[in-house]
Every structure is written in C-alpha cells, then in structure tokens.
C-alpha cells in the first residue's frame, strides 16, 4: 500500500514538473470595445476575439524590446505616443541604425483599415504585425528566435496561456495579442469630431458642447475649404469620421517614381506611384509627412497641394487641378486650412494611459 502511494506521489510530481511552470488558468475575460457613436462598427476577426488578457499581453509585447535582434527597439520605438504613434524621423531607425525608405505610419483607428503599410501588402492587422519583426531594416529578428525568447520567460508563458489557452507560444499568437491591443487605440475625441457631430445632427455631450463653443471662424472656414470642390478639395480622399477613404492614390508627389508603392505589390503599372491614403487624425503630431516623409511641416504639405503637384500617368484623377500645379490657395486660405487641420488633434488619445508604456 505504501509503495503504491509513493509511486503515485512521484507520478504527480513528474506531471507537475512537465507543466513548465504554467500555473495560470485559461478563463479569458471578454473585452467590449466602446465604439464612438459616430463611427461604424469595427469588424473583429472571429479567430481573434478581444479579451482583457489578450490586449494586456499585446500592450506588453508592443513596448517590449525583446522582439528586436539586439533588444534595442520595440514596436513603440517607431510608433511613439508623442508622435501620434508615428515617428518624427523621416525614416525609422531599425536595429544597428539601419534605415528603411518609408515613413512610419501613424497607428490610429486601425480596426477599420482594410489594408496595411503604405503599399497595402498586408490585408489584415494580424498579417501586418508579423512583418516588422523579421524585417532586416526594422527589428531584424527571426520569428523562431523571437518565440524562443518569449518561451524562456515564465511571465510570458503564463500570459500567453491566460490569453489564448496555449502552452506553446507561436508567432501567430504574438500577432493576435498585439492586434487586440492596437484595435483598442481609437481616436474620436478631437475638435473635428465635435464639428462632424454638429454637421450631422448627432447629439453632443456637455463636454462636447463646451468644445463646440470654442470652434473658431478660421477653423470653420478651413473646414469649408477642405470640403470645397473649388477650394482645397481634400475631402475626396479624407472624409467621414475616420478622415480617410480606403484606397491607394498617386497624389502628385513625383513625375517619375523611385518607389513604385502599390505597383510593386500588384505588378500593375497602373498602380505605380500609388500609396495608401492615410487618416488625417492627429496630423499635427505625426510629422514628417507622405510615404517618404519628405515634408517636415503642414505648411509644406499645403504648399504641395496648392502649387507643387507633378503630373504623371497614374496621378489620381481627383487631383483635379494638377494641370495648373494644384488648387492655388492664397495665404489666407492656407492659414484657414491649417487651422482646420489642427482641429484633428485628439489629446485624449495620445495621452491615454491605456495606450502608453
């Protein structure tokens, strides 16, 4: 009898030893996203439902430098809160100071995007997240090594188990967790949001009514110009609550292309020189601008659309005044347009502790 008891105890000991120190339970807490009243519903992938444990893990991974070759950079290094979750450098610095050739895109309202990267080479957020880690000009770490590093951490093993019920960490779970975190990064509390709600008869909260009273003539005039077909004519590509449409466009930056953009992905010459239309939310924070970060200021951007347009075979037909170099704004109009662009800043978004390291 004592012999059986001894064997049983040894067996239990071996079993527990093989559990690799995972002492967590898998009972994830569903996370309900609060979608702003003037936004469309966000489509959450069926195979990656939002959970508190998932997005908590995602945030930790997003800011952890363990995912880069020399442990010097994290996702958050090139998507910094004070830069509207973009990068103030023209080209982000990868490990060992390696530079890419595109500007870091701002991470905002990603749950509504239908393509990712300037050239749209990723179709889902999860797919997008898989790419920067092994990219030689970014984090330059093979996924096998990244997974090995995470697997060596008891804290990560527990967090992955709590989030996904898995004892074996895989890169797809890393992507899912970070995607959950990024989907929570919703920006909808700028002065523009109040203007949008007023324009469309959506009720304002008391706090929003205070903001409404602070809207200036210059900002409203700038908004009119922004929407006007014979003004700045911006709204074809930047409109609605998200301040963008989902498309690729050649906005007249160059007559010939050193970066084919979308065309390099599709192989279609008609796509050469086209890049993803970005949201203008928090645009004042996310300088420099364009896919190659060529413009340092909003003034330079406005000058480009006003008089700096270059025609080419694939220029967007919506750049309607390309034949005269742009929409030809005068100094007053430029100032008004800039005043409106500044209303797109959402300070609550960039200072939200839930999104900060």
């Amino acid at each position: 009898m004592n012999r059986y008891l001894l064997f049983s105890l040894i067996g239990i000991g071996i079993f527990l030893g093989c559990k690799k120190n995972i002492v967590s339970t898998y009972d994830p807490t569903p996370y309900e996203l609060e979608i702003p009243s003037h936004f469309p519903q966000m489509e959450i992938p069926e195979d990656n439902p939002m959970t508190v444990e998932g997005l908590t893990l995602g945030k930790k991974l997003f800011y952890d430098k363990i995912l880069s070759l020399d442990k010097t950079i994290s996702c958050g290094s090139c998507h910094a809160p004070n830069a509207g979750f973009a990068d103030h450098n023209q080209f982000s610095s990868g490990v060992n100071g390696t530079l890419g050739n595109r500007q870091s895109m701002a991470l905002v309202n990603l749950g509504w995007q239908t393509s990712f990267f300037w050239d749209g080479r990723a179709k889902t957020l999860e797919d997008q997240i898989l790419q920067p880690v092994p990219n030689p000009v970014e984090m330059h770490l093979e996924w096998t090594e990244a997974v090995a590093r995470l697997s060596a951490s008891m804290e990560y093993r527990n967090m992955f188990y709590q989030a996904f019920g898995v004892s074996k960490i895989e890169k797809e779970y890393v992507a899912k967790a970070i995607a959950q975190f990024l989907r929570t990064m919703i920006s909808a509390e700028s002065k523009y949001d109040v203007m949008y709600k007023v324009e469309n008869g959506i009720p304002l909260s008391p706090a929003e009514q205070v903001i409404e009273n602070q809207i200036t003539f210059e900002e409203l005039a700038g908004y009119d110009l922004f929407k006007s077909l014979v003004g700045a004519d911006c709204f074809h590509c930047h409109n609605g609550a998200l301040m963008q449409v989902q498309k690729f466009s050649n906005n007249g930056l160059d007559a010939t292309f050193t970066d084919l953009g979308r065309g390099a992905v599709t192989g279609n010459p008609n796509d050469n020189g086209k890049f993803k239309v970005p949201s203008l939310r928090n645009i004042a924070l996310s300088a420099p601008y364009m896919h190659d970060g060529r413009f340092q200021t909003l003034d330079e951007v406005i000058d480009h659309y006003s008089t700096g347009i270059h025609e080419s075979e694939t220029i967007d037909p919506l750049i309607e005044y390309s034949f005269q170099g742009g929409v030809q704004l005068d100094a007053t109009q430029k100032a008004q347009l800039k005043a409106f662009l500044l209303t797109l800043t959402d300070n609550n978004f960039v200072t939200n502790p839930a999104f900060l390291p």
């Binding site: 489509e43 324009e199 590509c237 409109n239 449409v245 989902q246 075979e313 037909p317 919506l318 390309s322």
Partner: protein, 263 residues
C-alpha cells in the same frame, strides 16, 4: 481476489458473448426495418448577376487604353455605381448593390433561394432619398450602404452617396502617340439624379444545375458616343454634381442609364 468477485466475473464471461450477439442482431433488425428516409428535393436556385464593361462588342479591362470612334484614346481607372431594388421577375435579387470594377471585377450580385427565375429585370440607379440621407453607420453591416462598405462612395450625410463614379484618363490629341494624361472624373450624386424604374428583358442562362447567370453589358461607346448627347472628353471632363454642373451631370446620368443592355 475476493471469492464473490471471482464468481461474478465468471458468470459475466459465461453470458457475455450470447448477450453481445443478441444486441447486435437487434440493432441490425432495427436499422433494416427503419423506413427509407426520403430527402425532399431542394428547389433552391442560385442566380449570379454580372456586369461586363465593354466598348461596342469588345469586353474591356480596367486600366487598359482604348480608342473612341473619333480617335480619342481613353482608359478607365474607376467604375463604381449603386443599383437599387434589383428584381428579376417578382423576386428581389438585392436591395442595394455596389458595383466596383477595380475591387470586385464584373460581380454584381448573388441570390440564393426558392423562386422562379424570371426574365423581367428592373432596378433603379442610385439610392432613394430616404436612404441617401440616413446615417450610414446605422445601415445593416451586410448592406453596401453601410459606412465602411460604401467607403469613398459616401461623402457626407447631406450630399449622401455617390450614385455613379467614372474616373479615367484620356489622350484627346489624336495622333500616333498615346499619352493618356488628361484626367476625367464624373461623380453623380444628389436626389435629383437618382434614376428609378429601369427595366429590360434578359435571358438568364443556366450555367449549372439550378444555377443561373444574368449578364448585362455596360457599353462605353454608348456612354461616350451617345447619338443625342456625345461627351467631349476634352471639355466635358469633370462633374461632382455641384449646382453649376447640372448640365454635364444630367448628361452623364442619362448616358450612363442608356449604356446598359443584356449581354
């Protein structure tokens, strides 16, 4: 082993095989006596609608250069439009369809159900005024009117949806060179330019068992070179349906509606 347990085990072994045999026989009898289940034949049919952009009798490809009869060259970079209340016979195929040549090719709608496949096709072009000014985030997420599905085909709540979008490039200088650098852009919107009550007779073709296809042709020759209202790409290259653009907007709307025919 206790004696009682050994006795029980021995008894069990003795009767186990006959009992098993009896059970299997009973099961077989039950299965064989079960009346054959008659699966009712499904009358569900599938109708797939397609719209084929063409020039005369030639099917076109998006982004390729073609010539009008007068030698002006053109290429289409965007062809998108809303159809409303598309019916085949008495059956609605789709409430609102959004054709997008670049994104979804020639696909128009797919309807499955139990109905008879008729030949009378009816539809409207655009979006009726009630739906046109409703909150696009409140439409069903499966509808093409829903905000994210409409994408750049919805401007603002006041102007509503773009009913018809045709964008492209032209070379209006007729010579041996091809240089399509002249942009044209037609955006038709506004309640006044909704085109209801379109109809034609089509011949749905059976492409498989209980599967039918309805094809329409959208003829750019009819659109650009309408006998009554030809479009001059050199001078009539832009409308966003603003009040001052009514004349061209109406011409585009009318030519567009007349450019459809059974394929």
């Amino acid at each position: 082993m206790p004696l009682a347990f050994r006795k029980f085990t021995g008894m069990k072994m003795k009767y186990l095989f006959p009992t098993f045999l009896l059970a299997v026989s009973g099961l077989l009898i039950t299965i064989s006596c079960k009346p054959e289940e008659v699966v009712p034949e499904s009358n569900e049919v599938t109708v797939e609608g397609k719209i084929i952009p063409s020039y005369g009798g030639t099917d076109l490809s998006i982004g390729e250069v073609y010539s009008l009869s007068n030698g002006v060259k053109f290429k289409i970079t965007a062809l998108e439009f809303y159809f409303e209340d598309v019916k085949l016979g008495e059956t609605q195929m789709i409430g609102h369809s959004l054709f997008d040549w670049e994104e979804r090719g020639t696909s128009w709608f797919t309807k499955k159900g139990e109905f008879s496949v008729g030949s009378a096709l009816t539809y409207g072009i655009g979006v009726n005024s009630t739906a046109n000014h409703a909150d696009p985030t409140l439409a069903p997420t499966t509808s093409w009117l829903y905000a994210t599905n409409a994408n750049d085909m919805h401007w603002t709540w006041s102007s509503g949806y773009i009913f018809i979008k045709i964008e492209g490039k032209a070379d209006t200088l007729v010579d041996a060179n091809t240089n399509c650098n002249w942009s044209f852009s037609y955006h038709i919107a506004g309640d006044d330019f909704f085109t209801p009550n379109q109809s034609m007779t089509v011949s749905p073709s059976q492409v498989a068992d209980k599967k039918y296809e309805v094809k329409l042709r959208f003829d750019f020759q009819e659109f650009f070179e309408n006998q009554l209202r030809p479009i001059n790409l050199a001078t009539e290259y832009l409308t966003h349906s603003a009040a001052v653009e009514d004349e061209l907007t109406e011409k585009i709307r009318s030519n567009f509606a007349n450019a459809f025919s059974p394929y």
